[in-house]
């Protein structure tokens, strides 16, 4: 099986070279013009008859210092994602999302369960012990994807062809979508995302109201 995957990956790489892979550059900004990180850009081929290469790597979403190590993780459908507990405390990782419901109660330090995520969609992860912990796993039906960095920039390399582009962000109500044709030359796009306020649960310590003794 591993040899078969390697051969497919090599063929894919070859096809990229042969099909003159093009670069699609994205810049994501909010309505104030500020760069937006953690926006997921995916290019789904319009021609579904050509089989896509399977995922070559696995995803990792660890728990450390009572946080998830990645706020947004993107993987291709069929990817195995590991959830190692690298923390010094227990966690109770769960997802109530339709794309994949699961929970890992009594999840002790050192544990490393994994799941394969076949269905495309967005999985919101939480910890039932530490309410402020939140992460998103975005499963896309394509190997051509990227996530914007702190400068709001992302680059996707894909063979020439027609694609359906989708831009997702956890605070955006509706995904931005457009159709795109990639040829031999690089293409750049800027997306302006309308983002809702960040309403994540705060972690900060609280003072107690005084008593009367």
């Amino acid at each position: 099986m591993k040899l078969r995957q390697l051969l497919v990956a090599l063929a894919f790489t070859g096809s990229l070279a042969a099909g003159a892979a093009a670069e699609f550059s994205v810049t994501a900004r909010n309505t104030k013009g500020e760069p937006v990180a953690d926006a997921v850009v995916s290019l789904v081929p319009a021609d579904r008859s050509t089989p896509l290469p399977p995922p070559a790597t696995e995803g990792v979403i660890a728990q450390q210092e009572q946080e998830f190590t990645n706020y947004v993780t993107v993987v291709q459908s069929g990817t195995k994602v590991v959830f190692p507990n690298k923390d010094t405390v227990q966690h109770h990782v769960y997802s109530l999302s339709k794309a994949k419901k699961f929970e890992l109660p009594l999840y002790n330090p050192g544990s490393a369960e994994s799941f394969v995520f076949d269905a495309p969609g967005v999985i919101a992860l939480g910890c039932n012990i530490h309410d402020w912990m939140l992460a998103y796993l975005v499963v896309v039906p394509t190997p051509y994807f990227a996530k914007t960095d702190a400068l709001g920039a992302a680059r996707v390399n894909a063979p020439a062809g027609r694609y359906h582009v989708e831009v997702w962000h956890p605070r955006q109500a509706l995904n931005q979508q457009e159709d795109l044709t990639l040829a031999d030359t690089a293409v750049a796009r800027e997306f302006t995302l309308s983002l809702k306020p960040d309403r994540r649960i705060r972690r900060g310590p609280e003072a107690k109201a005084g008593d009367y003794r």
């Binding site: 405390v89 012990i129 972690r203 900060g204 310590p205 609280e206 003072a207």
Partner: protein, 303 residues
């Protein structure tokens, strides 16, 4: 530092200085999940003396410092056990007889009705503190228990209903108190930095109040009327010099209405600043009443 002789201090020192992987390996396994926090509060309290006779009321600044350690342990899918310890220090420079140090263990168990931050949480807390006070009669142990039902209505708005019981066993009956408090509190995270919170409650039971020497002398000689005389001569009291030479502390049945409101600002994920105003209105068994109000600024840090 020999971690076997003072493991908690060792763990706290590591938290203060930033833990290194090698140092954490040296710690016993049960300590690796310990969380530490510290809070310091500067407050101004009006009628800190808890005096009904207004001309003799005393106001003062107080300084409080507390250290807390806790370790959560999930017992089953929806059950969480939390063990910890607290240490508190209170300083009242203008009336230093009221300075105190207390500390002791805490144990709590929590049941969460489902998954997610919006699921209701029922928590039972118990604690025991030993208090050492400059007023020797007030030294002793305090047992507490509380039942709390909390629910986030949204990610940023949380409500809680609380029932609490407290009993202090002092060296002197004057300072023995038993109290039951029912309260509701709410908090609203306005944005990622600002939080508004408030609470309202009713305390019932025994409290300690104070009287200036000339007022107390009148009370127990009948100078303030038969009702006061008949009650105050049956309750525990003693001269403690709590708010001046000759001041008396006495133990009464009472109820108190408690209110507080606070505005908090998150300096970071680990540090909060909070401005709080609190108000207490006490009515004792024979209708003697007095207010007390305070304003405090707290700095809370999670290590």
């Amino acid at each position: 530092m020999n971690c076997r002789r003072s493991p908690l201090l060792f763990a706290f020192a590591l938290a203060l200085t930033g833990r290194s992987a090698a140092a954490e390996e040296a710690m016993p396994a049960w300590m690796s999940g310990l969380h530490f926090s510290a809070a310091t509060t500067v407050a101004w309290t009006e009628n800190i003396s808890r005096t009904s006779f207004e001309p003799t009321r005393k106001d003062a600044a107080t300084y409080a410092f507390s250290l807390n350690a806790s370790r959560p342990q999930q017992l089953a899918r929806n059950w969480l056990l939390s063990a910890g310890a607290d240490a508190d220090y209170l300083s009242v420079p203008d009336f230093s007889r009221n300075d105190s140090v207390s500390g002791g263990p805490r144990l709590g168990v929590q049941y969460k009705f489902g998954l997610g931050p919006l699921a209701p949480v029922l928590r039972l807390d118990t604690a025991y503190n030993h208090r050492s006070s400059r007023i020797a009669a007030n030294r002793g142990g305090t047992a507490e228990a509380g039942l709390h039902l909390a629910k986030r209505l949204t990610e940023s708005f949380r409500l809680a209903l609380n029932g609490e019981w407290l009993e202090h066993y002092a060296r002197s009956a004057t300072f023995d108190i038993q109290q039951r408090t029912v309260s509701v509190d709410a908090s609203w995270d306005i944005d990622e930095h600002w939080r508004l919170s408030g609470s309202a409650g009713r305390l019932t039971g025994r409290i300690v109040a104070n009287a200036a020497p000339q007022v107390w002398a009148q009370a127990i000689s009948g100078g303030l009327g038969a009702t006061v005389f008949n009650y105050y001569t049956t309750i525990p009291w003693e001269v403690t010099d709590s708010y001046g030479a000759g001041w008396t502390s006495y133990n009464v049945e009472a109820h108190a209405d408690l209110w507080s409101a606070a505005l908090g600002y998150s300096l970071s994920d680990r540090t909060n600043l909070e401005l709080r105003t609190s108000s207490v209105f006490v009515v004792n068994r024979i209708g003697i009443r007095y207010p007390s109000e305070s304003w405090g600024l707290s700095l809370i840090h999670r290590f």
